[in-house]
Symmetry: C2
Subunit: 244 residues, 2 copies
DNA sequence: CGCCGACTTGAGCAATCTCAATCATGGTGG
DNA sequence: CCACCATGATTGAGATTGCTCAAGTCGGCG
C-alpha cells in the first residue's frame, strides 16, 4: 500500500511496448475508494477503462426489478474489462470497491484509439478478454454442475498454492461476498463450511486451515482445479508442502 | 443451405478490410458436420479459429470426472471464439455439431499473425470477445438469480422479435439441448413449459405460441430482456404486432 | 456493559433432481 | 396396414438441495 501502485506491475500490460504505454497513460487518473464506494455505475457512459491497482473491486449486474447479481470480484492487477459493452458505449455492470481500493482509470476513447495504433496493446487486450472468458466459463461450469459444497471446495482450492499438501489461508473478503460469488445465500455457505469440516477444513471466522488439499480436491468432483487464478493474493497465504 | 456459405455474411468480419480478409482466409477450410460429429475436442491443440456458417455448434466443457456442461450453442455467423484458451495453445471447451452444420476453419497461427498486422481485424476480434463476455455475463446472471421458469421465459423472449405483442416460433433445437442450455434437467424444463402454459404459452412439440409477449416478459423478473441476441434464426419466426 | 454487525444454527418450505412409468411419434419390417 | 421399437417428451412420487425466516452466538468497540 505504501509503494505507489503502478501499471508497470499489471500482467495484462507486461507485453505492451513502452511508448504505447506512455501514450495510453498520458491522462490516466489514479483514484482511491473506500469500502462500498462506487467506481462506476451500470449504464453509465463508459468514459474509462479501469484497472485495479490495490484492493478488490466487485462487479455486479442489476436487473430492472432490482435484483443484483455478483459477476466478478477483481483483484490487484485485473482490469474491469468485462464491464464494457461490445459497443464500448456504456458499462454493462457496475463496479464498487470492496475495502480500500486504488483504481487506475484510462481514457476509453484514447484506449480505443491506441488499440488501432499498437498491435502489442491490441494483443494484450485480446488476451485479457480471453482470460475473462475463461473465468466466466469456469463460473458457468460451476454453477450448472456443482453443489454449493463443491463450489466452495473449488473456491478454497483456487486460493491454495499449487502442490502443497496442506495450507492455512485467510479469506480475501467476508463470507457474505464469498456466498454471493458462489451464488448461494450466506446461510448455505455457512452450512457448506460446516460440511467441509468433516474432511479437514477448519474455519475460524476469516482464517481457514485445509489439512489435506488432495482430499478436498478429490471431494470437489474428481479433483477438478481452477487453473491457478492469478487473482487471489498470494501474500496472505502460508503453507506447508512442496512449495513451502 | 444451397447458397455457398461465406465469411462475407459474418457480422464479426463486416468491418475488416478486404485485403486482410483475403490474407486471413487464404488457406481456410470449409468443413461439413453431421449431427453429433465433433468439430474439435477440449484440450486439442488450437490449430484453427472456427466460425459457424450454417447450423448450430454446441460448446461443452468436460470436467475430469466426466461431467459435461454446456457452455454455449453457437449459431450461424458466430465464432467459436470462447473455445480458445488465453494462450491460444489449446481448446478449453469441445465443439460438436447440432444437426447438419458448416464450419469455416481459419488457421490459428495465421489468425494470430494477422491480429498484429490488421488493426481492423484486431478491433473486430475484441468486439467479438466482448459480445461473448456479454453473453456469458447474462448467463451467470440468469443462473444465479432466476428460477428455471424465469430462465425459460427469458430464453423464449430472446427468440421473439422485438416489439411484437404475440408470436409463433419454432424452437431452434430439441428440448434436451434447451434444458442443458438453461442448466436444468429436461423434466424440469417440461414442467416449466407446463407452468408457462398458464400465462399463454402453448407448445406443440417444437412449435411455441406466445399469446402475450409483454405478459411473459413481466413474468420473467420485471420485463428483463436479453439485448436481442443476434444469435437465433429470425427466418424461422413469424409474428404479429408492431413489426409484422 | 451492552450494542452491533457478522456469522452460525435450526426448522419448515420451495425448487429441482432422481427414478420410474407413461405417452406420443415416426420409422421399420412383416 | 399393422405390430413393434426407438426416441423424445411428459407426468408422478419421493429425495435432496438450497432458500426463507427466525433465533442464537460471538467478537469487537464505544
Amino acid at each position: 500500500m505504501l509503494e505507489p501502485p503502478s501499471l508497470r506491475d499489471v500482467p495484462m500490460f507486461a507485453t505492451v511496448d513502452a511508448q504505447s504505454m506512455q501514450r495510453l497513460t498520458r491522462d490516466a487518473k489514479l483514484e482511491q475508494f473506500e469500502d462500498g464506494q462506487t467506481v462506476f455505475r451500470q449504464g453509465d457512459r463508459a468514459l474509462y477503462v479501469a484497472i485495479v491497482l490495490d484492493g478488490f473491486v466487485k462487479l455486479t449486474r442489476t436487473a430492472s426489478c432490482g435484483d443484483e447479481t455478483l459477476i466478478n470480484i477483481c483483484n490487484v492487477g485485473e482490469s474491469l474489462y468485462e464491464a464494457l459493452t461490445p459497443d464500448g458505449e456504456s458499462y454493462r455492470v457496475g463496479a464498487e470497491a470492496v475495502g480500500h481500493a486504488h483504481v487506475m482509470k484510462l481514457s476509453a476513447p484514447r484506449f480505443r484509439y491506441m488499440l488501432r495504433e499498437s498491435p502489442s496493446l491490441a494483443t494484450a487486450v485480446i488476451e485479457e478478454a480471453s482470460r475473462k472468458l475463461s473465468g466466466l466459463i469456469g463460473e458457468i461450469e460451476s454453477l450448472k454442475g456443482q453443489t454449493a459444497e463443491q463450489r466452495l471446495a473449488r473456491f478454497l482450492l483456487s486460493l491454495c498454492p499449487q502442490n502443497v499438501e496442506s495450507c492455512c489461508l485467510r479469506l480475501p473478503y467476508d463470507k457474505r461476498l464469498i456466498a454471493a460469488r458462489l451464488g448461494v445465500k450466506q446461510e448455505t455457505l455457512s452450512r457448506a463450511f460446516a460440511k467441509l469440516r468433516e474432511i479437514g477444513v477448519r474455519t475460524e471466522t476469516r482464517d481457514v486451515t485445509i489439512e489435506n488439499v488432495a482430499r478436498l480436491s478429490s471431494e470437489c468432483c474428481g479433483g477438478e482445479r481452477e487453473p491457478a487464478l492469478p487473482s487471489e493474493r498470494r501474500d496472505l497465504i502460508e503453507s506447508r508442502g512442496a512449495l513451502a
